[in-house]
């Protein structure tokens, strides 16, 4: 009675499901009204990415990846959200971010753009050895939706979170096609992210000190 053409294995299915969770939390960030919940979602998303890394490390016997997963857990699940959260607490204004579009239209736009990304990657002859290949399409979708997050939300926290979650999307992609990257390179990537976070934090603080707001709608002096 069962007529399905291709049934993924339990491993494939659950790995894809985790990648989907990462994508869905990106969508949730896009619509999250509170900046605080956006940061929590980022933390959750990073946790899912870390989980994916652990899955790859365990199933493909890549011991180095355990170290990376550990680093990225400390950095992306604990440290980065902590830094931004603290900034948010200090600023005491603008708990609510600003949308430039209605939520439903944003989500529809994001759907369209992720379909585009998924089909672009799907048309490529890429075969992963560490994770199911569809996760690469999902990673592309995550990256594209994070663009929307940066473009459609006009406050510094959302934009920074958009960049960090873009990095999460790239992490998923690297787990799919580049799980064997040398350790030194991966550590360099993570270190770079840490530096970037600090700089983002400094600039957010500068912005907040000057304008007394987290909104970027005041940033319209320079043009032409």
């Amino acid at each position: 009675m069962l007529a399905s053409t291709h049934v993924p294995s339990v491993f494939t299915g659950s790995a894809d499901a985790v990648a989907l969770v990462v994508l869905l939390s990106e969508f949730a960030m896009l619509r999250a009204p509170l900046l605080r919940s956006q940061i929590r979602l980022y933390s959750f998303q990073s946790f899912a990415v870390t989980g994916l890394a652990v899955i790859v490390a365990a199933t493909r016997n890549l011991n180095e990846l355990f170290i990376i997963a550990g680093f990225s857990f400390v950095l992306k699940v604990v440290l980065v959200p902590g830094i931004i959260m603290r900034l948010l607490r200090d600023s005491r204004v603008d708990l609510v971010g600003s949308h430039r579009l209605g939520v439903a239209s944003m989500v529809l736009l994001a759907i369209v753009i992720s379909v585009f990304g998924i089909f672009v990657v799907g048309s490529l002859p890429i075969h992963s050895q560490s994770l199911p290949t569809p996760a690469l399409g999902l990673a592309m979708a995550i990256i594209l939706v994070s663009f929307l997050l940066v473009i459609l939300r006009s406050d510094v926290v959302s934009q920074a979170v958009g960049f960090f979650s873009l990095e999460n999307g790239v992490s998923v992609a690297s787990l799919v096609v580049a799980a064997g990257l040398p350790l030194i390179v991966e550590v360099a990537f993570l270190f770079d992210l840490l530096v970037a976070v600090v700089v983002f934090g400094v600039l957010m603080r500068v912005h907040h000190n000057r304008t007394k707001t987290l909104s970027t709608s005041v940033l319209d002096r320079l043009r032409g």
Binding site: M1, A3, S4, V10, T12, V107, V115, I118, G137
Partner: protein, 318 residues
């Protein structure tokens, strides 16, 4: 003792007709308990139905025959749908082939249309408000239903509910596949919407402004109203059947045509329905109702999940 397929089919219908008020009453009771009340009696919907059937029917002055025909048409629609879906058996019954999931959806939509039409007949502003809202949100949730159907169709290469249920039963990998999980969540959201529960609508409220489905029946009375109430309980149970016996837990169904197997499937199904009802009651108590204009966001989420289900299938990873 073997039952004829036609007898089982009739039994399916009968199960829905008879036990729909029981499930509604059960959920209302659980809800009451969760809120620290004693809650209404589980059998209360039956008493209500008896009471309404005994009352006279009042028809608004300007209303035509549609006002009374609507509830009857709706009720008969709800009688047809159980013939198409796996209520008691895990093997397809003869009439199960006359329509797929989409056909079931269309017949349910026809019922909704009939009720809306009857409500519009009255000329009452609240009833009209309710039907226009119900139609609008019905149209908005429609894409999600379609994409869930497409997903089922891609998984099973047919869109008969029996085959999807069989696929789910067949192996663990069918259950954890992302397409299935996403489709289930999307359909769950659809059911929440279609049964008029929070966060879309608070079904117990008496505030007309927030009403959608409930507002449509405001002008009906007597046996017509009883049919509407009964029908809405049946619709709820039908949606539970699809959710449970097709997507979430298609186990415990009769595997043969023997009387015992079929009869034992009835209490098992009712238990499962109570389980889902319990979940719905918890959701009801833990979320607040969305503002009317925020409901589109809810629809967008359901649509997103359904589209993603289809996408991962296309990618070959679903």
């Amino acid at each position: 003792m073997k039952l004829a397929p036609a007898e089982i089919q009739a039994l399916q219908d009968l199960t829905i007709v008879v036990f729909a008020p029981l499930v509604s009453g059960g959920i209302a009771h659980i809800e009451g308990r969760l809120q620290g009340r004693r809650g209404p009696r589980i059998l209360q919907p039956y008493y209500d139905l008896v009471k309404f059937f005994a009352k006279e029917t009042l028809v608004p002055e300007d209303a035509s025959w549609v006002f009374l025909a609507g509830p009857v048409l709706a009720f008969s629609c709800y009688l047809i749908v159980p013939l198409l879906i796996p209520v008691l058996t895990n093997y397809p019954l003869p009439l199960g082939y006359i329509g797929d999931i989409l056909a079931g959806g269309f017949i349910l939509a026809l019922a909704g249309f009939a009720v809306a039409l009857a409500a519009v007949e009255t000329g009452s502003p609240y009833a009209q408000l309710g039907s226009s809202r119900a139609m609008t949100f019905g149209a908005l949730i429609e894409p999600s239903i379609l994409f869930v159907t497409f997903t089922v169709a891609l998984i099973t290469t047919t869109d008969l509910p029996y085959f999807e249920a069989a696929a789910v039963r067949s192996s663990m990998s069918q259950i954890v596949r992302p397409a299935h999980i996403l489709a289930v969540i999307a359909f769950f959201l659809v059911v929440l919407n279609d049964t008029g529960r929070i966060p879309v609508e608070s079904h117990t409220s008496t505030i007309e402004f927030g009403m959608i489905d409930e507002a449509r029946t405001l002008e009906h009375s007597g046996p017509a109203f009883a049919l509407l109430r009964w029908g809405s309980a049946m619709k709820q149970l039908i949606l539970y059947v699809i959710l449970i016996n097709v997507f979430i837990a298609p186990w415990g169904l009769a595997g043969s045509r023997s009387l015992g197997a079929v009869l034992i499937a009835i209490p098992i199904f009712i238990t499962k329905a109570f389980g889902v009802g319990f979940l719905f009651a918890i959701i009801d108590n833990s979320f607040s109702k969305l503002r009317l204009f925020k409901i589109t966001e809810y629809m967008a989420v359901a649509f997103l999940l359904a589209v993603l289900a289809l996408l991962v299938l296309f990618l070959g990873g679903g």
